[in-house]
Symmetry: C2
Subunit: 317 residues, 2 copies
């Protein structure tokens, strides 16, 4: 009775080498770790379902990376440093071992890139689509975690990177949008979590743009009890997104999968933001401002008209 | 654009009041908390899939409780005190709002019972069966976490409570096993995580029995590089399990869903174990011993024969 049941052999084969010292070789009931002294812990969990958050035929290596990166993006939005993660995998019949080897490779690459390790988790079978859940842990100086509720009237609305590439990548993969160099599909499959910015004392509030720029800006506004406006012409587009043309604008502002940061930055902190962004090699762009005399989000077009959208973003239910 | 998308309205309606202060009202990207000073953190994650870990027609209130309790059992096995949890729910179409209200009631009851609160999570849709994943956080005195790898030859093999009720409960619900007072079904639906025992310095090793007594004892043996024997006649049975009769013995020793603790306790700590068990109101029974001259697990019957089982426990793959 010393042979391993299939579940445990599976874990040993694909995942044991991903575990750091706290993970106890994935051989115990739980991981044990001493939190960094004086730091607050930040913890978040996001799940991905095949056919909803990734395509069944996406490369398993990028699925592993995406699972980790969407959660790293939540840490970035809080201004936190990655520490470790746990994952639960609910696996349908028929996925070959190669699939999991490549999936684990994606996790392994990004563990090294972002400086964290596997703490534990669970694998189970399901008759339905593959469901991947990940819980991420990070840490932050006490009191320095960025929140959604700190935006004030007069703060600028800033975004990192470019907006809309993820959803246009999905359009390229599913709807035939031209994507000659594959950069849009790449952005859909491989988010770039915007870790490494020194935002404490610089941004009043932050959120990661995962469910559509307008919707996520709406969350910042609601939690901060303020309104905001943006100029659609200021929303940064990648070369590939610009090439797609202006009729993709609404989709870019309401589609999901950006994983850029949306920040509320007061005017006297703009220089500090530009400095930390330059040091981190991350582009930042001012696209509007918060206005506490209003509620909700207004998106203004170059003609001075307000863009009215049917749905500001993505709901997972 | 200030109305809530369905996902966020759903979270607000059913889960916001479960969040403690660290959960930030479930309105941020992540939860933030300061770990108890000088304590190590313990973290684990377990998922449950409809039709695999619970029955589709189980009461949703007990499904919520079971999800929390199977994870609390992992904390119990490490000797940890509960702190908080995150949950990701992957939801198929058609589950009515009442279902989630009752599910959240199960979580709410047990938050109060076991002293922890919701830190965050995620909800998403799936076309497949309901998948519930939970990550649990606890804390323990530095260096005091129980491990699986500390059992030594001569330690007694001890179990809490009674063994086999969970799997017999499944047999009652699915295979028509008699269960006149419903106690077996109740044990299947509502594990009793064995928190509250002072096991530091008492037990050399611990595991929770979730996948079958023989298999989980095999894990303790493998991690501790020792063997063990048990006497099947010593394995404690509830009145309902005893009434089922001796031909259910193998099933009781190899079925899952016990969520009792299996402990390695040296002879000179037996009195301390009995004392803390009496204080906690938890029965403990010595069923065998570890023997480091052997490998693996031997289950001896009253006739002096070894019980040979086809499969020592449950694999989720």
């Amino acid at each position: 009775m010393t042979s391993l049941a299939p579940e445990f052999a599976f874990i040993a084969r694909h995942f044991r080498d991903l575990a750091g010292p706290a993970g106890l070789g994935l051989s115990d009931d739980a991981a044990v770790f001493l939190p960094p002294p004086g730091r607050e812990l930040v913890i978040a969990a996001d799940a991905m379902v095949a056919g909803v958050h990734f395509l069944e035929d996406d490369p398993p290596r990028t699925i592993g990376s995406k699972l980790l990166r969407v959660n790293l993006s939540d840490l970035a939005a809080m201004g936190a440093v990655p520490l470790g993660y746990l994952t639960t995998l609910s696996i349908p019949p028929g996925l070959p071992p190669d699939w999991f080897a490549a999936f684990a490779d994606g996790l392994r690459d990004d563990q090294a890139r972002y400086g964290l390790s596997l703490l534990g988790g669970d694998t189970t079978s399901t008759t339905g689509p593959l469901v991947l859940s990940l819980t991420i842990l990070g840490h932050v100086a006490a009191g320095a975690a960025l929140r959604r509720n700190g935006a004030r009237g007069g703060d600028g609305v800033w975004v990192t990177g470019t907006i809309g590439d993820g959803t246009l990548g999905l359009a390229a993969l599913r709807e035939g949008l031209a994507d000659p160099d594959g950069s849009l599909a790449d952005r859909y499959r491989l988010p770039r979590p915007r870790l490494g910015l020194a935002l404490a004392g610089v941004a009043h509030a932050a959120i990661d743009v995962s469910d559509g720029l307008l919707q996520d800006l709406g969350h910042l506004c609601r939690e901060s009890d303020t309104g905001a406006w943006i100029e659609t012409a200021l929303v940064p587009a990648s070369a590939a997104a610009a090439a797609a043309g202006p009729h993709w604008l609404e989709r870019r502002l309401t589609g999901g999968d950006d994983y850029e940061l949306l920040l509320a930055v007061p005017p006297d902190s703009e220089q500090a933001l530009l400095r930390t962004a330059a040091e981190a090699g991350i582009a930042v762009t001012r696209i509007g401002a918060f206005d506490d005399r209003t509620q909700g989000v207004r998106a203004m077009t170059p003609g001075g008209m307000e863009l009215v959208v049917a749905r500001p973003g993505w709901s997972h239910l």
